[in-house]
Each structure stands twice: as C-alpha cells, then as structure tokens.
Amino acid sequence: MKPATPACCGARQAECWSGHGPLRSASPLAERFFLGRPPLGSQCAAGACGASPEPNRLCLSVGDGSMKRIQIHPAACSGCRACMVACVVRHDGRFGTATSRIYVAKADAAGTDEPRVCRHCRRAPCVAACPTGALHRDEEQGVVRVRGAECTGCGACAQACPFGAVTLHPQAGTALICDLCDGDPACVKRCATGAIEYVGCP
C-alpha cells in the first residue's frame, strides 16, 4: 500500500491533511472495488477528530497562489452527507449518493465523519496509475480530469489514491473524481458546518 503519510507541503509534512495527525492507511482495493465505497481505514490517528477544531490550512498543490482547493475539517463535519446529494444533483441532475464525487465515511459507533474528496494532487498517483490516459491533469486549472470515453473502469486510479477519494460509478464502472464544479463546488455551497471549504492556497 501507499505510505501512511501523504506528501504534504513543507513543515506540515507530518500532519494529516485534516489537521489531526498522520493517516494510518488507505483502504484495500478489494473492499473499495466490490463494495462500492472504501471502508473507514484512513482515519486520523489522533482519533475522534475532536482534537482541534482549528483547520490545518495546508495544500498539496503549490501553485501561483490563485488556485483554490477544497479543504476538509472532519471535526466540524456532522456527517449529514448533504454534500454528497448536492454533488449528485449537480452532476447527474437527480437525487442520490451513489455517484457522488465526494464521500463522507461514517462510523456510527465511533461517531466519526470523514469527508473524502479529490485533492487534485500536482503529481497525482491516480493519473500515474491510469493505463489508458483517461485521467490527466489540466495544468491550467490545476484539476485532475477524466476523459470518460477513454476510461475502461479498471479501477487502478481508485487503488492508487491514498485518500480514498476516487470511486467507480456503480453502474458505468468509470472513475468518479471531483471536478470542483468548475470553480463553484456544490458540496461546499450546501455544507452547513464549514467542514468543507473552498479556499485559496496560501
């Protein structure tokens, strides 16, 4: 599997992207592949995510400063999944969660809620893993994109993503990756708690 710690920028290397310690592990392919969604394998080591409500303002892509990213603050997430429905409504024009490009991993017993969404990594493992070139990085926009026609649904991208942020369409089988709604993310707009933010990188 991928190394436990994501390649964060600078001094925050050791911190989890959620701001609460290093990631433990990513999820095994088999579970993600056959059961629809990745299980809760990559929670904050600090646990509970109640440790610090103060978000960690790190970003992976050190662009020209104008680039914006979706930032996640699990401690603030109520787990309602409104973001998922908003995503599906925006992209598919229907109600549902199965084709959402953002996913909130929930553990009812532990009470944790962890939104996962593509970070549009500069050196994206999913792009590198894609055997057909369907995944590519739009360098101008700083966004990882999928050319649907070329996607074979092999799932290599989902396997490669250390954040569990890539899933496969339950019917079509093709990769589902956040496209930032062309700069106006529906999920962020609907979030009631500020757990997902769309902010510029410092």
Binding site: G36, R81, A82
Partner: protein, 640 residues
C-alpha cells in the same frame, strides 16, 4: 437459507406507466413496492400506484392506506397475520433539510390499535435509493432471518447468529457480514425477542422508531433486522426549481431565531425551557419544576460531554450530538443523542439528577431496543405506587423503589428487557401492568395504552388535546402544536381568528390549532421529512409545500390539496382505530391531568370543551368522535 430475488417491473430510473399513461414516470419516488412473505420466503414487487401516491403521498400516509386495505380488524399484533409496513415519502433522500425519515407501521401489540413509529438518520433515504417506496412484510419466518435489500436484489439471510444480540451488536455484525459500513440497518434488540411489547426498531444504532412496539412485531415474525443499500438515482420533475426552493429554505433556516440553539442543543434545550413553565414530568408528573433540572439540561451535556454536532441525512441543522461520557462508572460510554424525551425519561420522570447515569440508561434502552418513554413510565409509576404505599418492595423483587434509586432503575431496565421477575409485569406497558397488578390504574399515565410523553400537559393545553386524540395513543408527534407556546396573539388572530390560540394556558381555539398541526404532522410523516423543520420552524406553508411537490413530482398540487391529504391521513387513521372500537370516550387522558391541579402551578386540564371544538373543526360527530359520512365523502374515503 432461503433466497429470493425480486426484479421490479420498473426500469432502473423508476420509469412506470402505471395508470397514468404511456411514458409516465413517477418523479421523486423510488417507484416500487416490495412485498415479502416470511412464511414461504416469497418476494415480489409492483410499481408504486401513482393514484395512491397522489392521495396519500407516502410514508405514514401510504402505510395507513395499506393497513386499512390489507389488515383485517382485530388482528393480533404478534400473530403472523399482522403486516409490517415500512414506508418512505417523496421528499426522503432529496435535498430537503431533514428529508431523512421513514415510518414503520403495523397493528400495535402494545395498544391493540394503530402501531406506527418514525425515525431519522440514514435508513429512510437508503431505502428510497434501493428504488422502493414501501416494504410490506407478512407472515412469520421459520427461524430468525434478516431482510437484505440491495437495490432490486432482495435476500432473506440467516440471523440465528444474531438472535440474542443487542441492536448495536446486530447492526455492526450485519455491516461486517455484508462488508459495507454504508449498509443501513434497522434492528431489534433482546427486548423484542423476549416479547417486550414496547420494544422498538433502532436504526443507525441510536435512532429509535420505538413507539407502539414495532420491534415486538418484527420479533414475532422472526425478523431480526432490515438492511438496505441503494445506489439508484431518483429523478425530480423540475430539479432547477427544486434546488431554488431548497436554497430559499436553507436561508430561512439559517436566519431562524431558533437556529443557533437547535444546532447547539437539539431538543435537549427543552429541559430548561419546560422547567421554566412547569411542564417537566418531575417524579411521575407530581411536580412540573425540578430544582435540579439545570444539572441534567442540554446545556450541561453540551458543556461536559459533547464531542461534535451530528445530523440526519442532508440536514442543514446538525441538531444531534455525539457524546463521550467520560465517567469511570461507565467506561466507553459514547453515544449519539439523546433527544429530550429519553433525557427527561431518566432524569425528571424518575427523580434522577445524575447525568452520566441518565445517559447510561438511555444507552441501555437503545441497546436492548426499548421505548425510553414507556420504560420510564413503568419505572416511575412503580416508584409512585411505592411512595403511596400501594406497592411493597417484596412485590418488586425486593428493589428499593425510592425516587432516583440508581440500582433499581438500572435493574428494572434489565428486568424489563429480559422479562424477569417484576420486569415481566412491566413489559407489556403500564396499562397492562396496572390491570395485572390490580392496583394503580388511576396513576397509570397513558392514553389508549400508549405511555404519555415527557411533558405535563396541564401547562400546555393544546398538547393535552393532541395527546388525547392522537391516533397511536398518547403522543405529541401526531400534532406538535407548538404555536400555543409562541405568545403571538396577532398571529393567532390571523391564523385561527382567536388570539388565545397563542396562549399555552388558554383553551379557546385549541381544537383548531390541534387540527391544523395534526395535518402538518401527517404531511411531514408522509413526505419523509422532519418535524423540526416542517412543523416547528414552519419553513413551508401549504402553498409552499405544494410548490416544492410540484417541482419534485411534476403533479399540479395546490396548497389546499396538500392540506386535504393531511386531513385524509388523519381521517383514515381515525377509521382504523374506530374499527378497533375507539370512540370519544377513549379520547381522554390520565386522571391526574384532568383532576389534580399541578402543584405550584394550580391548574388542571379541562379536556371536554377542547374535544368538542376539535371534533367540530374536524367535521366529526361530537357525541361519538367518529368521522361523519359527509366528511369521508369529501375526502374520498367513502369506499376506502
């Protein structure tokens, strides 16, 4: 184990032409009704009937229609002949803030009349995403099974290994067995298996559909749980319009004066609020105020144990709370909730003001799978009998029935869940317990066999009326007439033509208020949405509801039609319980509320004038409390 696959007649997107002509598609519905016969393991499905959906919407509305049509009068609640109906409505699983709820209905083994319970969380939307609007379960399995619905694949799976496990263990075990934590499970605990008649169905571990004993019905069918996972996408007739309306609702909610308090405390803010107006159920309704209420308030929980805010599906008010109760007596006690009802149950009602202990009791009830309201009633009733010398300790397994005695309260929860000793007497509910004991019937706080909720209705008159006439027995969620607490007399005139409707201690006009809120409650339960947003915050009026439904379904609803649907549901439920013998004389409340002035507040509840006004507003016969044939004809229920 028996396996049966169902292939719905409709296409993946819920396309049906049923009755409404070629090319007709039911927007915002799953589109399918699933029927499961546990006796022979047969599963079949048919399209959701558009004409019924238009007349009853879904959820509680469509559920009562099924019960009325398919359940013979006087069916024994625990017999295989009883049917268990799960339903979601057209707004469940949508963007609606609080569109998270499902109803589960059957003949109640606890009350012998309408059984119906409702819960939020994530189960309802997930069921909707399987493409099903309703699941109708009949018969009785030969051995324990659970029902697994994965889109249109339906399985009855072996649950022998789960029998004896609590709701939490069962839920987690099923998720593990199916290899997916997003499987939503509604499970019963040991209490239901042991035949406790107020055992409920628990979704998301801490989301009880606990009133009227629907868990007991599941257990009688050897059905341990229902697990759902749906990947369908549900179309709306006009998504752009729907989104536009939701954005407006979100802004109403964010600017609502109660918003901040609701997201901090949820309903637990009511401990302080009801204490201030003398409406807490202190020591089994002997006192409306408790000196130590602040110690067990929502604010105290927030300050000491709240980890984070939680929410139901797609809701913009995270009014639920996840708690980590750091108390050495209860290691590892972490739970979501509780809401006001279970919190008041194990504090004011039983005379306990130790917060961690109360949370421990709520957790026990959730795990065993019993209704916290009924549990707290049978315990506090026993304590009052003991206080009055009507019950001796020897009759109650030697327990010390002093108010607030923690050992006793905890022991009774265990005893009830296992039907052991004195707990066996209590496990059929307070009405049955009083009859069996031959004492204390006048102190039993119930209406129609269902235990009274956690508020003293001598201080809130419309709630009193609402409890007396509620179709499932004493219950506030059949009406939730909060308006009488508003104090807004001008609005009272505008709405009902009567300023006193906004005064909680006044009587005049309360029949009109309860009628109105009963219809709103019926609509929210039929749509699959939350009463916090729809009934209490009133984010939509009838016309607004009609507009949202137009966008959702494409049908040309009017505000008047929506109100009529609410009225139709209330009337059909009334017909259902009338068939079981309910008339005006059953629309009553415990003697204490009607005859004993509330100590310190000096008021009783004068029910009869409110009842007269209510029946007249309903167009029912005032002498019998039964719907008139003219009213039924008006609602299209004459031949139903």
């Amino acid at each position: 184990m028996g396996f049966a696959a169902a292939s719905p007649a409709n296409a993946p997107e819920g396309e049906t032409t049923f009755g409404f002509g070629e090319g007709f598609c039911m927007k915002s519905y799953g589109g399918t009704v699933l029927r499961v016969n546990l006796t022979d393991g047969m599963v079949r499905s048919h399209p959701t009937e558009p004409e019924l959906a238009r007349a009853f919407l879904g959820g509680r509305g469509l559920n009562i229609k099924r019960l009325w049509d398919e359940l013979p009068a006087h069916t024994d609640g625990l017999s295989p002949e009883n049917i268990l109906v799960l339903g979601v409505g057209p707004l469940a699983g949508t963007l609606f803030p609080g569109g998270a709820r499902f109803n589960i209905s059957a003949m109640s083994p606890q009350t012998g009349i309408l059984g119906d319970a409702n819960a939020g969380g994530f189960f309802g939307p997930e069921l909707k995403f399987t493409g099903h609007d309703q699941v109708i379960i009949s018969g009785r399995a030969e051995r324990p099974v659970y029902l697994w619905i994965h889109d249109d694949v339906v399985e009855l799976r072996d649950a022998r290994g789960l029998w004896g496990k609590d709701t939490r263990e069962s839920t987690l075990a099923i998720q593990e067995e199916l290899g997916d934590r997003d499987v939503q499970v509604a499970a019963i605990g040991q209490a239901a298996e042991n035949g406790v008649r107020f055992a409920g169905v628990f979704a998301n571990l801490n989301r009880p559909a606990a009133r009227t004993g629907m868990g007991a019905v599941m257990a009688s069918k050897n059905l341990k749980a229902i697990a759902v996972r749906g990947t369908r996408l549900i179309p709306a007739a006009d998504m752009a319009r729907f989104v536009e309306i939701i954005e407006r609702l979100d802004s109403i909610i964010y600017n609502h004066p109660e918003y901040v308090a609701r997201r901090r405390l949820g309903t637990t803010r009511l401990i302080k609020a009801l204490n201030a107006i003398g409406a807490l159920p202190g020591r089994h309704f002997q006192e409306g105020t408790c000196a130590r209420a602040d110690a067990v308030s929502g604010e105290a929980i927030e300050a000491q144990y709240k980890v984070k805010s939680k929410a139901c599906f797609a809701c913009t008010i995270p009014c639920s709370r996840f708690l980590n109760v750091n108390d050495p007596r209860y290691p590892g006690l972490r739970l979501e909730g509780p809401e006001y009802e279970p919190l008041a149950a194990f504090t004011a009602r039983v005379g306990n003001f130790d917060l961690p202990f109360a949370l421990h009791c709520v957790d026990l009830c959730n795990r065993y799978g019993i209704d916290a309201i009924a549990t707290s009633e049978v315990i506090s009733w026993s304590m009052e009998l003991y206080q009055r010398g009507l019950l001796r300790a020897e009759e109650a397994d030697g327990l010390d029935l002093t108010w607030g005695c923690q050992e006793t309260i905890e022991a009774l929860i265990h005893k009830i869940a296992h039907r052991e000793g004195y707990g066996d007497l209590l496990a059929d509910g307070v009405r049955a317990a009083a009859r069996k004991l031959g004492r204390g019937e006048e102190l039993a706080m119930h209406a129609k066999g269902l235990e009274v909720f956690q508020a003293d209705v001598r201080s809130i008159k419309a709630y009193g009326l609402g409890n007396a006439v509620a179709s499932r027995g004493a219950d506030h969620l059949r009406s939730e007439p909060w308006f009488e607490l508003s104090g807004d007399r001008e609005e009272g005139v505008r709405r009902y033509g009567i300023p006193e409707t906004a005064d909680r201690l006044a009587y005049r006009g309360k029949g009109l208020v309860v009628k109105h809120y009963e219809e709103m409650a019926a609509i929210s339960d039929a749509l699959g949405i939350c009463k916090n947003t729809y009934n209490n915050m009133e984010v939509l009026d009838w016309q607004g509801t009609a507009e949202l439904l137009q966008a959702a379904t494409g049908w040309d609803f009017t505000g008047e039609e929506v109100q009529r649907i609410g009225e139709r549901i209330v009337n059909l439920e009334r017909l259902f319980i009338a068939r079981e013998g309910i008339t005006r004389r059953d629309d009553t409340l415990p003697r204490r509320f009607l005859q004993e002035p509330l100590p310190g507040w000096g008021s009783v509840l004068e029910l009869e004038p409110m009842l007269d006004e209510y029946y007249r507003a309903r167009g029912w016969d005032v002498a019998t409390g039964l719907p008139t044939s003219a009213k039924l004809a008006e609602l299209g229920l004459s031949h139903g």
